[in-house]
């Protein structure tokens, strides 16, 4: 018989602490029942044990949701580091950024990582949204998670917007001036809202303090909470959307264990994303212009790139439509999307159907042609304001051009419907593609194709 040496007091204490962390009771340990810490408990709060093969395929999601999470975590960690050195006051903010870049160890890199992650996040979320839409991930039972996702999107845009002002350089100051200036055109409550957001009549000390507080406390907290809810709903819906499986026993059984197979894939994707951002940030510096000078405006002054599509619209149609009606319609449309068509259970199939894919390509091409034609036509061909001076400008530069443009688009959509004998889901998808492509064209035009005085120009010219 073997005589066990009684464990020393220190060893006992250590093993007790260990047991308390891994949630094994002492009795369970004595009885020889061991629960594994990581795979056993923590992970399976979020994940099932096995997922269908299709769900684990990289091209089912392109890992975009996971990459978004990685970027958010990078933003939170670098943001907290920046916060240690940043001073949210107009006479100190710019200098504190210079200090971060020059004197803080790795400061320049950390600022670059924050800057690039923020910009990549906006792009990755846009792509994630497209992935979800085109695989039908917004249909029952995931309808509400689409809405939750939209809230996340708005919160991230708000973070990008409030962060934009913080460096307090010429770029920041005038971009925020311009985009809050758009609120002047919103009737009734626009001016009031503008004063609240700016913390006064102009961008100044109170704006900076407000933006800083919102950027580093309110929004991160909101994003964190809503994100957790988003993930929980993904799990509750039974994981990501996958194509309906053939009802054979074999096919239904085709599943992959989450640990380690899926987790390993996700880890690789996450590490690749982190590596990409870190290397990119080591190579390219975040822009920093001269210190903000409220007396000296740059030419041209542009809104931050994620809002620049609105500025482009403002050049063509009456402000009431450009900054209020059209953005609200787009937001409302996106919110309503999952509730417009859920008669079909089809999900997990890219572009809904082969027909849907062909129609989608046609509408994307049409959107590029129509919006380019609209922009060029407005610049070089018709001048309605001078042609019809008697009518109020809401009609001449608002109702009239929008009616003409929508009419043309409607005719195109009817043609598309006839041509392909499409059902309503395919039509909604085509309209969605048209609107999204149109907005991208507006964004690219204003961002890269407008030079001095906002006149059309080649980016290299």
């Amino acid at each position: 018989m073997e005589i066990k040496k009684p464990p020393s007091k220190t060893n006992l204490l250590i093993s007790r602490i260990g047991l308390s962390i891994t949630r094994n009771s002492e009795q369970a340990a004595k009885a020889g029942k061991k629960r594994k810490f990581l795979p056993g408990t923590l992970v399976f709060h979020f994940r099932p044990r096995r997922v269908p093969h299709a769900a684990a395929r990289f091209t089912q999601t392109w890992g975009l949701g996971g990459i978004a999470l990685v970027l958010v975590l990078l933003l939170f960690s670098t943001g907290l580091m920046l916060k240690l050195a940043y001073k949210p006051f107009p006479d100190m903010a710019y200098d504190s950024i210079l200090t971060i870049q020059r004197d803080v160890h790795f400061g320049l890199w950390v600022r670059n990582i924050h800057h690039w992650s923020a910009n990549f996040l906006a792009i990755v979320l846009f792509l994630h949204m497209q992935r979800v839409f085109f695989t039908g991930g917004f249909r029952h039972p995931r309808q509400f998670n689409w809405v939750v996702g939209l809230v996340l999107f708005l919160l991230v845009l708000a973070s990008n917007f409030t962060g934009y002002l913080l460096p307090w350089d010429q770029l920041a100051y005038w971009a925020i001036t311009i985009s809050t200036g758009m609120l002047d055109y919103v009737p009734l409550f626009g001016g009031w809202l503008q004063t609240v957001i700016r913390g006064g009549p102009e961008i100044g000390p109170s704006s900076l303090l407000l933006f800083f507080a919102v950027h580093t406390a309110f929004l991160p907290m909101g994003i964190f909470l809503v994100m957790m809810f988003h993930f929980w709903r993904v799990r509750k819906a039974g994981g990501v959307v996958v194509p309906m499986m053939p009802a054979t026993e074999e096919a239904q059984g085709a599943s992959t264990p989450v640990f380690p197979d899926l987790l390993l894939k996700e880890l690789v994707t996450a590490l690749a994303a982190v590596a990409f951002v870190l290397i990119f940030s080591a190579m390219f510096n975040a822009p920093l212009e001269m210190k903000a000078n409220p007396g000296l405006s740059p030419n041209p002054a542009k809104a931050p790139w994620f809002f620049i599509g609105m500025q482009e619209m403002l050049l063509h149609v009456h402000p009431f439509f450009a900054v209020l009606v059209i953005p609200l319609l787009m937001l409302g449309g996106l919110l309503a999307l999952p509730y417009l068509n859920d008669a079909s259970p089809a999900g997990g199939v890219w572009f809904y159907s082969a027909k849907g894919r062909r129609m989608g390509i046609t509408s994307a091409v049409a959107a590029v042609i129509f919006s380019a034609a609209g922009i060029l036509g407005d610049a070089f061909l018709f001048d309605l304001t001078n042609a019809l001076p008697a009518l109020p400008s809401v009609i001449v530069s608002g109702v009239l051009p929008i009616a003409v443009f929508s009419g043309v688009v409607a005719i195109f959509m009817i043609f598309l419907q006839r041509r392909y004998a499409a059902d309503s889901n395919e039509m909604i998808q085509s309209i969605y593609i048209f609107v999204m492509t149109g907005y991208v064209v507006l964004t690219i035009t204003c961002l890269w194709l407008r030079g001095v005085n906002m006149a059309l120009a080649w980016p290299w010219g």
Binding site: E202, L210, M454
Partner: protein, 172 residues
């Protein structure tokens, strides 16, 4: 279990008109509480009154004796964020330097004798009227007080207008 529970619940809580009304009252009170909370937060973050009493921009700015300013000239007052213009008639106008398009700072071009906005090329004449778009209306202006031939400008309030008219000018 579940099946047993359901009928019990409906039995125990018949929704009488009175209970319905009281329920509604609770909801209304809840909504009121939330509205108050939102109102409080909004009132808190809204800019306070202090701003309008300070020196410089937002307060009363003293420009100097009327004789300092020639007819048909413009003088910039950086501190007050406005331009003091003396029109042909000899009257004064204090024009906000904020472009009515999207809020950039307009600059006075001496040679062309008009205000120009660098951001998207709007232009305004000496009295603030639009001479080239995209600006939708004339520059805002401030109230001017002339006491003992000293010009003072009240920058606490920007006055909006569509276009120039004579009653906006302060005569000497």
């Amino acid at each position: 279990m579940k099946q047993q529970k359901k009928p019990k619940e409906t039995e125990a809580r018949p929704v009488t008109p009175r209970r319905g009304f009281l329920n509604m009252l609770w909801w209304a009170l809840g909504a009121l509480a939330i509205a108050e909370l939102i109102g409080l937060v909004v009132a808190f973050i809204r800019p306070g009154k202090k701003a309008s009493q300070k020196e410089g921009y937002g307060g009363l700015v003293t420009c100097g004796p009327t004789s300092d300013f020639q007819v048909n000239t413009v003088t910039a007052f950086q501190r007050g964020h406005f331009y003091l213009a003396r029109l042909k008639s000899g009257g004064f106008m204090a024009l906000s330097r904020k472009c009515t398009h999207l809020g950039c700072t307009v600059i006075w071009d001496e040679k062309k004798s008009h205000f120009e906005c660098p951001c998207h090329a709007s232009a305004f004449n000496l009295a603030g009227d639009v001479i080239s778009k995209p600006a939708p209306r004339a520059l805002d202006y401030h109230r001017i007080i002339i006491e003992n031939n000293i010009v003072k400008v009240d920058t606490g309030k920007r006055i909006k207008r569509q276009r120039f008219s004579d009653d906006q000018v302060t005569a000497v």
